[in-house]
């Protein structure tokens, strides 16, 4: 096993960084997009509300692979050519944004409606009440599930293997094919994933416990 690691160290590390890069870009993108759609979902305006709900329901119920493949094969053919990495990251961002929208919406709804009414009656605008009163409280409820979404994001970034995104899974496949030592290669790839996901999942469990009692 050590020989596989030592002879492919450079490849593995660069693949690890690609996975990390895709996950972080995906996290930032899907947080922005997800929050926007969450706000649309709770918006008092009917048609905005409908768009938010439809987006979330549609994206949540379609496989990540299908969304990613649309960006990998359909978009390059009809719109503009993009790389596998870009297609994978965009697909991942859109897919995850629906889940984050649900998480953020649940977080906001967990804050009692009296908070909003109180803020509005004191003379804050809807927007001010959101940013100063509701959001700061909702964040605490939202962080642990958001962390779990990030873990899912890291795991789901393996979809890059389908679109030659040069991530851990893709390079693992190539190394396995070259060394003919499938079991050990995937074992090593697994450890690289666990380096990111395991500490995160324990951290989230800790935060969940701590903030529950608070």
């Amino acid at each position: 096993m050590l020989s596989i690691v030592s002879s492919n160290w450079g490849t593995l590390v660069s693949a690890f960084l690609v996975t990390l890069e895709c996950s972080i870009l995906g996290l930032i993108g899907s947080c922005v997009l997800g929050t926007a759609f969450a706000l649309m979902e709770i918006s008092p305006i009917k048609w905005v509300n409908a768009i938010g709900r439809i987006y979330v329901e549609v994206v949540r119920n379609i496989p990540l692979l299908v969304i990613t493949m649309i960006f990998y094969v359909v978009i390059p053919k009809y719109v503009l050519p993009i790389s596998g990495f870009a297609a994978g990251t965009i697909g991942l961002t859109i897919y995850t944004s629906a889940f984050i929208a649900e998480t953020v919406r649940a977080g906001i709804e967990a804050i009692s409606t009296g908070q909003m009414e109180g803020a509005r009656s004191v003379g804050l605008t809807y927007f001010q009440a959101m940013t100063h009163i509701i959001f700061p409280q909702a964040i605490k409820v939202t962080i642990p599930p958001l962390g779990n979404q990030f873990i899912n994001l890291v795991k789901n970034s393996s979809v890059l293997a389908f679109v030659s995104g040069f991530d851990l899974m893709y390079q693992g496949k190539l190394i396995a094919a070259a060394t003919l030592d499938t079991f050990q290669t995937y074992f090593i790839v697994g450890i690289f994933y666990l380096i990111i996901t395991m500490p995160l999942s324990y951290l989230m469990r800790y935060l969940e416990k701590r903030w529950q009692t608070a």
Binding site: N61, M69, S158, F183
Partner: protein, 218 residues
């Protein structure tokens, strides 16, 4: 619109539906296996048998933190090295069942945890044994809380069957790719059809779960 009609000719639609049947069969088998396995593992994790629960918990944590695709590769490409040769269908079912069982075990454990401790104490005080209290008092209440997360886990299971295209399982995503492989113009119709098929099944499931949760609510 003409390409749409051509792409969705009966022969192509039938081929898609054949693939969709495989998707549903593989999903159904994995749902049943992972539900049973996950419940058992979740209870083992909850009751805290010395060593056993800790080890089970650690294995569950590892599986939960690995990509499903990696497990699929392990089962399909890795196991043959150890002399276990599997076809695509059974490899997919095994990988999905293991992965989802770990997810469900976590849901079951936290579902049982969410039932207030007084329930168990009261049941024991009334003379029930631990097992009786578990089966008649705790689990029925925990199950109600678990329905929404378990169903959404099943929904992701159905979506995740699409990953098996990589080991050439002839499910619906794979078949769709074969169809547009023959005529590139069928690409968009095929993806629209795929999206519709997955959406209908998963959306119905999520509606059913919402209804069930509402009816069972105490």
């Amino acid at each position: 619109m003409n390409t749409f009609a051509q792409a969705l000719s009966w022969i192509n639609v039938r081929y898609l539906l054949e693939g969709f049947m495989v998707t549903l069969e593989v999903s159904a088998a994995s749902i049943v296996i992972s539900f049973i396995l996950g419940t058992i593992l979740g209870i083992i994790r909850y009751v805290k048998i010395k060593w056993v629960s800790a080890i089970v918990g650690f294995i569950i944590d590892i599986i939960r933190n690995l990509p499903l695709l990696l497990l699929l590769f392990f089962v399909y490409f890795g196991l043959p090295e150890m002399g276990v040769r599997l076809n695509a269908v059974s490899a997919t079912i095994i990988a999905l069942s293991i992965f989802e069982a770990a997810m469900i075990a976590e849901i079951v454990r936290s579902g049982i945890n969410a039932v207030s401790k007084g329930q168990m104490e009261a049941a024991r005080a009334n003379g029930m044994t631990y097992t009786q209290a578990m089966v008649h008092i705790i689990l029925p209440q925990a199950l109600r809380k678990m329905i929404p997360p378990i169903v959404s886990q099943f929904i992701s299971l159905i979506k995740d069957t699409s990953l098996a295209t990589i080991i050439l399982l002839p499910e619906v995503t794979f078949n769709a790719q074969l169809i547009y492989g023959q005529n590139v113009n069928y690409m968009i119709p095929m993806y629209v059809a795929l999206a519709v098929l997955y959406f209908v099944v998963n959306y119905l499931l999520s509606l059913a779960s919402r209804m069930l949760a509402k009816r069972l609510a105490i």
